[in-house]
């Protein structure tokens, strides 16, 4: 899996979590919370959807890695690859 493909997966999840937001111009290197309205429950949604849709577990200590699209891709791509995706 490429990092761009990983970002697309995260963006698809965010689109469902924040359906009122325009996510077409999110900057990948900027914290998601600085670009759109996301609260702690929304981040738990991202964690839950990664678990439900892709079988990926994100331990609480690693939530910090979900801050931006770039950090999501850096953190999640190896996890997808470990699952053979």
């Amino acid at each position: 899996m490429t990092k761009d493909a990983c970002k697309k997966i995260v963006l698809d999840i965010i689109a469902d979590i924040a359906p009122d937001e325009d996510i077409s111009n999110l900057k990948p290197d900027v914290r998601l919370r600085d670009q759109m309205q996301l609260d702690s429950m929304d981040f738990l949604d991202i964690v839950m959807e990664l678990r439900k849709q892709h079988g990926i577990e994100v331990p609480e200590a690693d939530y910090i890695h979900l801050a931006s699209l770039d950090s999501c891709a850096d953190y999640l791509t190896p996890k997808f690859e470990a699952l053979g995706k």
Partner: protein, 414 residues
């Protein structure tokens, strides 16, 4: 001025019913005989019938708000906004800590719990897939709390659990809080999201009390000899209530005045009504309102179209209004919209309030063959009735575990 002398008036109405999403639309359909029951798919049970609301969920909520909140919360928010708009209150200048929210519910949380159990069934019941929204969605105060979040109200906001007597209870409690000067404005009434839980359908079916009919719009038929049970419905109706002096000071439109009320309990059975206690509830409400039975011009019945329950309520009404009440008309709203549970009392009152203005009593529809045991004097059947005067409306709502509520609303006269 004593507690009881403080006059409380209705200044705004917001509602969604299976046959209307505003009071004018709802009322017109009640006069035109338009029912709102339709086919409805229920998890595990297949296609049944239900009263479904079709309000614009995005009028006052974002898509995210809808995703995070509950159906009951969404109904509440819609109705509260509509009531606020209807009231004409300049809400920006109202201190938000002086506003109360009192919402009657039959039950709350079953929908979300059933949904979550169904969701984790797809993951071999592993609870790590259980939603983190489950607790805020299922707390009993959710439908009231969602209004406080939506309108920025910081006063008391809670629900009143009173089975199907709850809609009346919202108004009664609000009147009490206004009289105690705990708040200056109250949003009150009842809501129900019940159709989104299979449990209520399955429960009524197991009781032998779930209505069936080849034509959904004919399925809810209180007082008809062929009635065979309840049509489960969702809905909501929220009022703004104020003390009369405050309402007059701002030149508010006044729908009616809280005349009196009573809440009592049967203390006799989990589900079977008790006509004696129901009659007592009505009589105590009349005493509270300083009225006699003959002073009531419309009685809105609770009757849900169960074979036994309708007979027992008619027995109670006959005991109070049986003689000497030639000007009392009796109707039923569930024949149009089914049983909106916690919203029932509030919605059914709303449907009759315009009678103060147009002097028309909406009928009970779907009565093709009146059950002789339900043939009480004053029943208005199948077509509207023009009457000479409407000075007081008495609204009955009763619920399981034997809770009874009677609310009387009077025409407002200065």
């Amino acid at each position: 001025m004593s507690f009881q002398q403080t006059r409380i008036v209705i200044t705004g109405v917001g509602l969604t019913a299976p046959n209307g999403n505003s009071l004018p639309e709802f009322r017109q359909n009640l006069l035109d005989g338009v029912a709102g029951v339709e086919p409805f798919d229920v998890r595990y049970m297949g296609r049944l019938i239900a009263g479904v609301c079709h309000f614009d969920t995005l009028r006052y909520q974002t898509k995210k708000g809808l995703r995070v909140g509950t159906r009951a919360g969404s109904i509440s928010i819609y109705c509260a906004h509509e009531a606020l708009k209807d009231s004409g209150l300049s809400f920006d200048s109202v201190p938000k800590d002086r506003v109360g929210i009192y919402i009657g519910c039959t039950e709350h949380g079953n929908v979300e719990t059933e949904n979550e159990i169904y969701a984790i069934s797809k993951f071999n019941y592993d609870t790590k897939y259980w939603s983190h929204y489950h607790n805020p969605r299922t707390v009993a105060n959710n439908p009231a709390g969602e209004i406080s979040l939506a309108l920025g109200i910081t006063g008391p906001a809670y629900t009143i659990g009173a089975a199907c007597a709850a809609g009346n209870m919202g108004l009664i409690h609000a009147a009490q809080m206004l009289r105690l000067h705990e708040v200056d404005v109250a949003f009150c009434g009842g809501v129900s999201e019940s159709i989104h839980t299979f449990g209520i359908f399955a429960g009524f079916k197991s009781q032998g009390a779930l209505a069936t009919h080849e034509d959904p719009k004919k399925a809810s038929r209180p007082f008809d000899k062929g009635r065979n049970g309840i049509v489960v419905s969702e809905g909501g109706c929220i009022y703004t209530l104020e003390r009369l002096d405050d309402a007059l000071a701002r030149g508010a439109k006044i729908y009616g005045e809280i005349g009196g009320y009573c809440v009592n309990s049967d203390a006799s059975d989990y589900v079977l009504p008790n006509p004696g206690r129901q009659a007592e509830c009505v009589r105590k409400a009349l005493t509270n309102a300083k009225l006699t039975a003959a002073d009531i011009h419309i009685v809105n019945t609770h009757a849900t179209a169960t074979p036994m329950g309708d007979i027992q309520e008619c027995e109670a009404i006959r005991a109070v209004f049986g003689a000497g009440c030639p000007d009392t008309s009796i109707n039923n709203t569930k024949s149009y919209i089914g049983h909106c549970m916690g919203a029932a009392g509030a919605l059914e009152l709303a449907g009759n309030l315009p009678s103060f203005g147009d002097l028309i009593v909406h009928p009970t529809i779907n009565v093709d063959d009146l059950d002789p045991l339900c043939a009480i004097d004053g029943l208005v059947l199948n077509k509207p009735k023009k009457v000479a005067k409407v000075e007081a409306i008495l609204n009955n709502s009763f619920g399981m575990l034997g809770i009874n509520s009677t609310l009387i609303v009077k025409r407002f006269t200065a």
